[in-house]
Symmetry: C2
Amino acid sequence: MFTGLSAFPLTPVTPAGFDEHGFIRILERITSAGVDSIGVLGSTGSYAYLTRSQRSHISGIAKSHAGNIPVMICVGAVSTDEVLRLADDAQAAGADALLLPPVSYQTLRDDEVFGVFETLTQYVSVPVCIYDNPGTTHFEFSDELHGRIATLPGIKSVKIPGVPPSPEDALARVKRLKAKLPEGVTVGISGDASAANGLNAGCEVWYSVCGGLFPHVAKEMTDAAARGDRERVVQLSERLQPLWDLFRKHGGSIRVMAAAAGVLGLTEADCLPRPLRPLSADDLADVAAVISRLGLR
Amino acid sequence: MFTGLSAFPLTPVTPAGFDEHGFIRILERITSAGVDSIGVLGSTGSYAYLTRSQRSHISGIAKSHAGNIPVMICVGAVSTDEVLRLADDAQAAGADALLLPPVSYQTLRDDEVFGVFETLTQYVSVPVCIYDNPGTTHFEFSDELHGRIATLPGIKSVKIPGVPPSPEDALARVKRLKAKLPEGVTVGISGDASAANGLNAGCEVWYSVCGGLFPHVAKEMTDAAARGDRERVVQLSERLQPLWDLFRKHGGSIRVMAAAAGVLGLTEADCLPRPLRPLSADDLADVAAVISRLGLR
């Protein structure tokens, strides 16, 4: 399950609470597009804003609407005890894999981050993916630490943030990381604007926010990568540049994807958990214009 | 309660869980020293690593051992809903004030941070202190935003991180902030190595990690500041330089204070919540040597 397109859906949360119907509508878009896996409760899935019981409930809904598509559930939390409780819940909900970001409050040391992965992999029976996302966790992995963690039984993939913009640098970066990883541990690209570059540099999977709402265009990209059509991968990403520009303008993808879900009529316009707030009316109009212009679906 | 010495105790958490006896021993040191207030479940109090029910339990213990000393309880959480639930619990436990850091996962915008403070102050009946700690929250306040939030009814103090090292720059920095704050909102210094400089620059309160374990020496410093003896304030801080050096060496105060609590026999040697890990034996010996050399109590 750690290859191809892994779609990371938004978890809509309106002022009234978790929007179950909206979430199911989003899941249905993804499953009907035939993605390779679903990553629920990732960063765009707002795991950090939800209680343990909400996360358990949402995991169950994802599994019951995913059909045969494997579901990876993020169990990130500041405390290791809480990570284990979330892992219990995720496994009870039928998680096919777990995603673990080293969420930090106090700055973490390498041995502390290794410790969480060691504790989790010894505790669970499903595969685990390393979630490297310094923009939200404020922890910077070295390739050495990735390699050390990846030798733990059960670690099956590393979700990395963006790669450098030049194809040569991206290739070198992915190569350097892969040299540290045991056989069979895949590297997945995230940071959607970097996806084409990452896929062309040898990443086996795209952990994709875009794929969580616009799975068809994302799948075209991973399909092109799978058949080695590097030019087509670049072309497809370039076409999506206005979407990547919106992500950059709004400091990440979540507020844009929440706006897009509203524009598509899948959720209410305000579907972000507080303290996060929806985009302004003007910014919302920009999002709608990009969706329409690119014919995103 | 937003002047003088506010002691921020460690919350000891051993592998067996919250160490209630150790916590009470720490509280007794603080209360018997006659500090002006106690800030429980701050950063060194490991709030971010504890569940809602643990935080509620710990708040109750703090209040029942604080005597007449006012207790401020930190209600930090990523989600605004959770902040309000924690505020309910803290008020039920008898909190005299609440401390709110804008804990972030997604990068927060100024209007989002303002929104959490607005929501909280409208919701609660006790005073609120703004907790500005970019090292853990990853949110940078501007003086303008502090000023805007401080106009909300109920905001009574701003807990700032360190001030610049030169007395002139520190004075200018505190002056600049104070110019934005309404009358009656105090400025409190944290970042213990900066405390002398902050107090001499006009901060009315020291939100003190050192005071959470070594209240006598901390109180000497705030007492000297209160009587305008700037030279003595500097002298006392300079004497504590070996402690500040340990804080810097270990990337903050929490691991050092946990080690110190163990050295003093107040808690077990391993009293940090995972993923945080105790200092090595060598580093522990350094902490013990500094405590002994400085005669800290």
